[in-house]
Symmetry: C2
Subunit: 152 residues, 2 copies
DNA sequence: TGTTAATAGTTAATGGGTTGAACAATTAAA
DNA sequence: TTTAATTGTTCAACCCATTAACTATTAACA
């Protein structure tokens, strides 16, 4: 029984790495060459919330603000993102998608959606639903574990 | 019903990114500061197969050989990896762990094992087993999808 | 056998992501 | 009003990835 658990743990470590690598490279191919994965996730986030700040992105993606600045700069140079200073609190800068950014996002998302759909459809809906439930639970455990560490 | 599937797809895309980020940063903290995730995965791979080549690593990790050279160089500078030329075919270089490399690996693996164990133990063994089965199936789908793309 | 092709690995240039520390501008708190 | 804290940026230093050109070596084959 103990050996069984050890096997599961090893299997999980191997799988999580493999799935991540394979999935990421497939999505990279789908997106096309002009957008990195990180840039796409930021595009996705801003599209969902419409408007946000650098600090919010740093919090959401769990990186330092200077990392966000670098990514946003590159996307701004490509004309995908707009920066607007808050008139009341002139420290904050709101980030929104330009028309070009939004258009690119919709285009990418469509292709990714079809790709992921082709994967998901190979499963019994019940199985994938159970899978996602466990996945979500795991995500919560990771978040809590990270919060615990922060408090030390 | 169609909406249901769309929800699952969105949920999967969000979750896979979130779990990956959280998990990776937690493991990074566990490993300690002197080893990146990529370096750890290479340490892990070499430890398992005892001896391998750059080409094998490039194949396994799905990157170009020059990327491997760069990583191995850094690990070699830290005294973790040994390079040995094949006497018969003098083009190939065998990579093995030094004592220091092996010691570091065992140390890291122990801490990561405990961390992942603490996660896994929060699940019903049946649930985690079912989860890993689906995960493995997904991994196979990704691998096949990648192979199909290669043939084009 | 001797030329050509394939293979293993490296180097260099370029681009992208990350951190940490220092900094300016602005706002909040005392 | 002086002092904190906050928002975001810049810079130097790493790490990882790709492409292209290159060396060295081995395999193929005519």
């Amino acid at each position: 029984m103990l050996e069984n658990i050890q096997e599961l743990i090893d299997q999980y470590i191997d799988l999580s790495f493999s799935v991540h690598r394979k999935g990421e490279s497939l999505i990279r191919d789908q997106i096309g060459s002009d957008l990195t994965n990180d840039q796409h996730y930021i595009l996705r986030y801003i599209s969902q919330v419409k408007s946000c700040t650098s600090s919010e992105l740093a919090e959401e993606f769990d990186v330092k603000k200077s990392a966000i600045t670098a990514i946003i700069n590159r996307m701004w140079e490509k004309g995908l993102i707009q920066r607007t200073r808050d008139e009341k609190d002139r420290r904050v800068v709101y980030l929104t998608l330009t028309d070009k950014g939004n258009q690119l996002y919709v285009n990418c998302e469509e292709r990714i959606y079809k790709l992921v759909e082709s994967f998901i459809k190979q499963f019994d809906p019940k199985e994938i639903k159970q899978f996602l439930e466990t996945y979500e639970k795991l995500n919560q455990i990771l978040i809590e574990s990270k919060d615990d560490k922060m408090e030390e």
